[in-house]
């Protein structure tokens, strides 16, 4: 599984880095950032799906399904 954040849509609610801190971080203005290359290890898929499902702006995209 591979994810990315659509920065035209992200408003910095921060749900992704609250719920999946191993996969997402924030920049100096609080907008979400994918940590690393966006590849989600199998054991972190549940976290990734929680982050996706809780983003109020629907800004996280799955670009490759597992």
């Amino acid at each position: 599984m591979k994810v990315r954040i659509n920065h035209d849509v992200c408003q910095g609610h921060g749900r992704c880095y609250d719920l999946a801190p191993d996969l997402f971080g924030d920049d100096e203005e609080g907008f979400g950032q994918v940590l690393g290359d966006g590849v989600v290890p199998p054991e972190k898929e549940r976290e990734a799906r929680l982050a996706i499902a809780n983003c109020p702006e629907r800004a996280i995209e799955v670009i490759e399904e597992s």
Partner: protein, 423 residues
């Protein structure tokens, strides 16, 4: 240091030469039909807006009123979100639905940037604030916030009944934002008055409303002058020195943003902490479960934010238009109810129930789109710490007198009197 002559001493000096806005007749009293005559300033709404919103969602999802010079109330998530995203057709020039529309010339900056600003100015004004409100930045306030929460509970000093709204919830955001702005912590009682004047004084006669607002702005100007004389590391000094487009900010921008941070920083979180404690006091099953399973606190907090979202915003329609079945006129208000959106069964399963372990919770308590609450990370920190400390110190509590609970009227809803039995 060169004198900074941007700032007058008296707010009324800044009002001269300003373009005039438009006032309408003030209409108060019981609502005849919520689909054609709604008012968020009447007791029936503050007592329980959800019954009204649920009913409207079934029969008239975009309600109208002639009060406030005309306005609309959408209650479906899809309509609320569409308006929040559509900054071309809906302006933030005014965000408190009242009997006064500020002059069109005030756009795109508005009276309290960036919440009152429209693109493209909005982006630049907001960018100035974002770094101070990231999760990391607000985390630096957490130890002092926690210690302050403990000191508030220490002060209960064996009382059997305490007012969790007036003696606990209220003080937490006041202390935090006063610290961030660099205002004296003992000015809290004045802040409470400013908040009430701004948000609940909407239907007062115009002269009285202006007089009350000038109390707030004269206080802020005094703080600006104190910071000019004694610069320090806080948001007020930061705003005084901040630059946009190669020059320092207009004085109205500095003071308007200070007003925004003070008012929006207090009333909202005060309401969220109070509503969460009110829920737990009235629902012992949820309270016991949360005390026993602290790991549920993150989902519980999001659920309280969804179900009891404190903040409703407003917009002004830019041009006459037909929108989703209704005929909107230029300068009609939109009462943008995030609380109503958060209880739309089309968006949330079991929308009317409070489910403290709800895992999927795409709520809109902090708004949607470019105006996402700039203080959301601060609010979440304060709410979490306030509940952690309360549950640790007072795991058993209940409503002392359910009929004595009162709720703020207007666009920010939360308990203002909340007597809880803690002994």
């Amino acid at each position: 240091m060169p004198l900074d002559e941007r700032f007058p001493r008296d707010f009324n000096e800044t009002r001269e030469n300003r373009p005039l806005g438009v006032r309408n007749e003030i209409v108060t009293g019981p609502v005849s039909d919520w689909s054609t005559d709604f008012s968020h300033l009447e007791d029936e709404w503050s007592d329980d807006p959800y019954v009204i919103q649920d009913d409207l969602r079934e029969r008239c999802p975009i309600a109208h009123t002639s009060r406030f010079g005309g306005g609309w109330l959408p209650v479906r998530y899809e309509d609320v979100s569409a308006i929040a995203y559509d900054t071309k057709r809906f302006s933030s020039r005014a965000i408190i639905m009242s009997n006064f529309r500020p002059p069109k010339e005030l756009a795109p900056i508005g009276g309290s940037p960036p919440i009152s600003s429209d693109p493209p100015f909005h982006h630049d004004a907001r960018k100035l604030l974002l770094p101070a409100f990231t999760k990391t930045a607000v985390g630096r306030q957490e130890p002092a916030t926690r210690a302050f929460c403990h000191s508030l509970i220490d002060a209960f000093d064996g009382s059997e009944v305490v007012d969790a709204a007036a003696d606990y919830a209220q003080h937490i955001p006041m202390r935090v934002i006063a610290n961030m702005l660099g205002f004296p912590p003992e000015d809290g009682p004045q802040f409470a008055m400013f908040v009430e004047n701004t948000l609940e004084g909407v239907n007062l006669p115009p002269d009285e409303r202006i007089e009350r607002m000038s109390l707030l702005f004269n206080y802020l100007l005094a703080q600006v002058h104190d910071h000019l004389d004694h610069p320090r590391d806080d948001l007020t000094t930061y705003l005084i020195n901040a630059e946009l487009y190669g020059r320092k900010l207009e004085p109205s921008h500095v003071v308007g943003t200070m007003a925004l941070l003070l008012i929006a920083g207090i009333d909202t979180t005060w309401s969220a902490i109070g509503a969460s404690l009110w829920h737990l006091a009235g629902n012992p099953g949820d309270r016991e479960r949360l005390v026993g399973e602290r790991g549920l606190l993150p989902t519980a907090i999001e659920e309280f934010l969804r179900a009891y979202a404190p903040v409703t915003m407003a917009r002004l329609v830019k041009e006459d238009m037909h929108w989703r079945g209704v005929d909107m006129r230029a300068d009609d208000w939109i009462l943008l109810s995030f609380p109503a959106a958060n209880r739309d069964p089309e968006q949330f399963e079991r929308a009317s129930e409070v489910i403290i372990d709800r895992e999927i919770n795409r709520h809109a308590a902090f708004g949607l789109g470019i105006h996402r609450c700039v203080g959301s990370h601060l609010a979440r920190m304060e709410l979490r710490v306030a509940l952690e400390v309360w549950l640790e110190r007072i795991p058993e509590f209940s409503l002392a007198d359910a009929s004595a609970v009162t709720w703020a009227s207007g666009q920010i809803r939360g308990p203002r009197a909340l007597p809880l039995r803690i002994g």
